[in-house]
Structures are given as C-alpha cells and as structure tokens.
C-alpha cells in the first residue's frame, strides 16, 4: 500500500486530502504543519510520497523541496499550491520537483499523479 505524508499549514487541507485519498486505499501515515516538522516526519515514517504545500510558516515548501533533493532523501514529491505562476513552477522544477498541482484540490488529478509515481 502506498504510504503518504502531507506537509501543509492548513488543517482544512490535511483533512480534505485524507478524506479524498483514504477511500481509494492510500495510507496517510503522517502530517506536519510546516516544512521543518515535515522533514522530521519524513525521517521517522519513511513515506513513498510527500504532498507538499508551498506557503507555510517556519520553512516553506520550496525550501523543503530543495532540502529533500539536495540530501537525496528517498521520497517522491508532489507539490500542491494555491499559487502556480510560471516562475514559481520553474523554481520548483529547478529544485527537482516533477509534479506540481494547484489548489483547489482536484481529486482525480491527485489520484492520477500518485498512481503515476507509484
């Protein structure tokens, strides 16, 4: 079963993703409200996939993604953000992010991307 960690400062989003993914058999094994705590959760739980927000306090999603790729942490990253302009996506891609989705969350898109990574 695919193990997923969510890093997003919005409890609404965490709940919505769980509600969306769990009926499809995906296992949400942890979450965090900022990138710094999120890296800790990834370290402890070793998920297959992390769903990563951009705008967060303490450590944002871009910094978190940069850290994950620079340190070759073995987790696949799906970025999920309210923002999605060309320059932001370019920056994320330069850090190593391959999957970038926009909020509001679209269930089918998220499930398809997860399946493509699995």
């Amino acid at each position: 079963m695919i193990q997923i960690v969510i890093i997003d400062d919005s409890p609404f989003i965490i709940k919505a993703i769980k509600k969306t993914l769990e009926p499809h058999g995906f296992n949400i094994i942890g979450h965090a409200l900022n990138g710094k705590d999120g890296l800790e959760v990834i370290w402890q739980k070793k998920p297959d996939i992390v769903i990563l927000d951009v705008t967060m306090p303490i450590m944002d999603g871009l910094e978190t993604a940069k850290f994950i790729f620079e340190h070759k942490i073995p987790v696949k990253v799906i970025m999920l953000s309210a923002m999605g302009d060309d320059e932001l996506i370019e920056t994320a891609k330069n850090y190593g992010v391959k999957e970038f989705l926009n909020k509001p969350l679209k269930t089918d898109d998220l499930i398809n991307v997860i399946k493509s990574l699995a």
Binding site: P11, F12, T55, S81, G84, D86, E87, L88, K103, P104
Partner: protein, 156 residues
Amino acid sequence: MKSEKFEYMCKCMIDSFLKIAKEMADLKFNLNNNLDPVFNIKKTAIIVGIVGANPGRIQLETNETMSQTIAEKMNGETLNNPLEVYFSLAEFANIFSGNGLTVINNQFPGSQLRLTPPSIFVGESLELTTPNIEHAKSVLFDGEDLLRIDIGFKGE
C-alpha cells in the same frame, strides 16, 4: 504603481474570489458597494500578506453566518468546532489570493509576488488598519450573507 496596474490587480483578486467561492463552496456572490461597510458585529477577518515587487495584503471579512456557511460548504458537513471554521476560511483566503496572484505574476513576469501564511482574527467591532498601504480598495459582496474583501498594495 500606476492606478491601472492596481485596478488590474484588484480585478484579478475579485475574479479569483468569485471563481473559488463557486468552485470550493458552490456560492455565488454579487458585488454590492451600497451595503453598509461597518460590521459592528462579531466577525472573522483573515489577512494574507503579499511579498515581492508590490507588497500588500488581502483581507477577507465575514460575519458569523457567512463564516459558517463558507466553511461548511467547503467541508461538505456541519462544523461544530469554531477552529475548523476559522481554518477553512483561512485556506479559502489563501487559495483565492494565490490563484489571483498567479494571474498577476504571469501578466507581469519578475513581480515574484508570494503569499505569507494567513492570520486569523475574530472579534466584535474589529477594526483592522494596515499602515503604508498606498493603494487600497474595499469591495463588498452579498449573496448568502455579508462579506468584504479589502485589497491593499504598496510601492512603485
């Protein structure tokens, strides 16, 4: 900043708000600036900061009924915990502001406008003012109930 650019930025934000309200909460609002702008009632205010070439902030204000309606429609269930209502509204403001900024950033490459995490304020007779905002616009909407969006940007 030229006033045409500010007007364009406001339009992006308002369009985004209307689109996201429909998409996330199935709510339709109408611009109505004839409404009484003073809410001497308990209200929720969400402030999302903007950094980059034109720093500013978006402020979403709703009365209690409106807060509850938006949040419950976003969640698709009744919410009894006020924290869940506030967190939902905060993300609602984050999403429509982010979608609006995306359009602005693509129109003005190099602007690099980015959001800061939302702050939540709840209270009666809440008056919020932001200093150093040179361009500001307050927009009122009606629909299910009362809602105001205050858009402010500063700088060249």
